[in-house]
Point group: C2
Chain length 464, copies 2
């Protein structure tokens, strides 16, 4: 028979045995809860009076059960601190128990792996301020299941921001909020498949997790050639769509040549193809010639994908897609009613954008990353003159071209030094036809400020 208590402090579910008397049943049930770890060491139990009231039994019965268990060592009773579960009372049969046992993977001393911003620079105070304003003013029904496209406040704020800062042509109705780029790509995989697309061409260099995600949706992902003008967009075989990083090729770091930009839009118009534009770090450009979104050239054929993972933090799990109206409807439908993104984060980001805090944060990060980029370029020129630093006009990473045949040994040496690094070969498509290059992809945005100079020093030590 199940009973419970509901006191001021805690809820506890108990199932005293039906036979053997109330005191015995309660004692056994409590002992069992402590022994199996359901009641963690140190947990304060309700007073005998409130537990008795909750269970509808005499207070004395509870007091006696407590006394039994104190005598047995399962509980402790101290003046002023009430009755508590004894420390070390828990056995952990067959690997179960409530004790926290976080097995974090062992981490290297330094990481220059690309793909993350400086997480220590996350604007905590500003973010909390925006969260407070957003949650204080939100209508109560904003906390419901919501529109699969995302909150209108955020779509409106993004429409303004993306038009202004990235040259994207959009309105709030053509934006779909996602839990980051990967989530958007998964949704698009489903949409493209449903439209009869069988092949999405990708770049010779990129992220294997994206290729795999498209493959899981049943799509083939052949690689386009890459040359000094960037990805070759003159010929797509029979592909129905293409995934590109036009503003800042990942990881090569170059901007797609204007001829190639025109060519991919021509192809899309001619064939009805779709371009998936991954604008992962469009905010971070350090020179006079920013590259606007390809989407601005043809909003009916280009799907723009952006993310807060580089500008703020991946942990927010916030991204966005700008789609042609029909595709926006299909994407919302593929996401489904419950596959939405946390509303409070959405409202907070909307407030963060509208108040100007986003612009301020991006600007301050841009300064920090530019300084690091300059320090990296100077240090490499000084300490490893044979290594050429490329792809640094924008973004949070650089490509360090190494003497032929040295990439693997440098990565190996870095690992020995406790420095995590990616070689360019890590990002090379298995079917890429371009000749392999020896290079490192150095994520100079990754370390916190306090670790940056140490990481740079460790890098310089392993360069040939």
């Amino acid at each position: 028979m199940a009973r419970s208590w509901a006191t001021l402090g805690v809820d506890l579910h108990l199932e005293p045995a039906a036979s053997g008397g109330l005191r015995r049943g309660l004692t056994d049930a409590l002992r069992d809860a402590v022994r199996t770890g359901r009641l963690a060491p140190g947990t304060r139990l309700p007073s005998s009076r409130s537990l008795a009231a909750d269970l509808g039994i005499a207070r004395n019965t509870v007091a006696e059960a407590y006394a039994d268990l104190v005598a047995e060592g399962w509980l402790t009773a101290r003046q002023g601190s009430g009755t508590r579960v004894a420390e070390r009372a828990v056995s952990q049969p067959s690997g179960r128990g409530t004790a926290p046992r976080h097995r974090e993977p062992a981490r290297p001393a330094h990481s220059l792996v690309p793909g993350a911003p400086d997480l220590a620079a996350f604007p905590r105070t500003e973010w909390l301020r925006a969260a407070r304003r957003a949650l204080t003013t939100a209508p109560y029904d904003a906390l419901g299941y919501g529109d699969p496209r995302g909150r209108p406040e955020l779509r409106t704020a993004l429409a303004g921001y993306l038009a202004r800062a990235r040259g994207v042509r959009t309105d709030p109705d053509t934006i779909v909020i996602t839990a980051g780029f990967t989530h958007g790509l998964r949704v698009l995989g489903t949409v493209l498949r449903a439209r009869g697309v069988g092949t999405v061409a990708v770049e010779s260099y990129g992220l294997d997790v994206y290729w795999e995600l498209l493959q899981q949706a049943g799509l083939a992902t052949p690689a386009l050639p890459y040359d000094e003008l960037g990805t070759d967009t003159r010929e797509f075989g029979g592909a129905g769509a293409v995934l590109l990083t036009p503003a800042h090729q990942f990881p090569m770091g170059t901007a797609l040549h204007p001829d190639r930009r025109a060519a991919v839009v021509d192809w899309a118009r001619r064939t009805g193809g779709l371009v998936l534009e991954d604008d992962y770090d469009g905010e971070f450009r350090y020179d006079r010639q920013p590259v606007g979104a390809l989407q601005g050239l043809d909003p009916d054929r280009v799907i723009y994908l952006g993310t807060a993972s580089k500008s703020l933090a991946p942990g927010l799990r916030l991204g966005w897609m700008v789609l042609p109206p029909e595709l926006a409807r299909e994407a919302a439908s593929a996401k489904g009613r419950s596959d939405t993104v946390g509303v409070l984060e959405q409202l907070t980001l909307a407030e963060f954008l509208t108040s100007g805090a986003y612009d301020r944060h991006v600007r301050s990060c841009r300064l920090r990353y530019r300084r690091r980029r300059d320090a990296l370029a100077a240090a490499v020129a000084d300490r490893a003159p044979e290594v050429r630093v490329t792809g640094i006009a924008a973004g949070l990473h650089a490509v360090l071209r190494l003497p032929p045949g040295t990439e693997q040994s440098v990565i190996q040496a870095a690992a020995w030094q406790g420095l995590a690094l990616h070689g360019l070969s890590f990002h090379r498509h298995p079917q890429a036809v371009t000749a392999p290059l020896d290079a490192l992809v150095v994520g100079y945005g990754t370390p916190p400020d306090s670790a940056w100079s140490g990481a740079l020093e460790a890098l310089c030590r392993v360069l040939p």
Copy 2:
């Protein structure tokens, strides 16, 4: 040719035409940005000095371009408020523009649709307090991509809470955080399919979106019979798993009979089957006999699924699964590295649980909902004595049994009165063999306090 500005206030991407002079090019580009809505009405432009510096052109050129556009009515210049985009300057060609146009669906005056808590009762102040504490103390690397199982802080807090309040046997390593129940079910669909499961038996009454989700994963979803002891768990055909709401059948509102609880665990042990326990509103019980989690009977065969959607708000998009260790690994792998849940919400919920705020909130809601339940039962007894109120020992909804043949006409009458209601037939499995019942599923948790008595009155008016 692309240029941009980067001033203290805003970023703007511009592409002045290469020919026709700088002033002309800048004027045209700005006009175009305003006309197409890329610059929203009211947007403040950078000062002519800072824009000139950003673009590397003479300040006078910018000042003249601004003056031209003020003269044309695209911009306004006022002492002390700088140069801004004029209000009403935007035309919206072909349905694109940045003006907010939220098309919310028309809503009925009252809603007693089940499935949502009172969103107006969301503990905003307490939640923000927890968010502040959580974000202030979080290590910076908590903001990265993270563990697909979820943050260890939240898994630890949940392990303690679920053991204490729901009788779940778990430790942090066997918990996987999800973006709500639906997300968890989608992940489990993939995992079950990969294990070779072809059929998941479901209940005769439930939510069609769940059945569809399993079907999308390639699983058949036959219905188990339902009788006065609840769902019949004595025979599962060849099913490899079963989806149940043991503590509080949705929507019938009954607890699964102890014999049936034992039977389903027996079946799972005998056949290697798995039980998916949907404990959607286990916290809300109003009587002396709470029903503990089925998972406590056999943590190796029962997967427990819980959610913050009923206890806090669906908009948080937070849920959790407790799985046998091997399945926890498979679920984490099926979620994938980037399919994680917003970290800040996770850390906030962990703090909310640990500080006791969650218990306090649930307790206060329990009181509010019990009062509403009692008011509903009293009003129906008084105003519609032919209607029987059932399934009210727990939860946020009641089942109102109607005279045979009246369900559709009551729903119709409610719609005319502006009252949104679900009939029981809405929740009936298409292949259910149980004889159909005429009934309403009344979500008395849904309206805010201010609308509750009006909704109840509207309901009473349409009852036969």
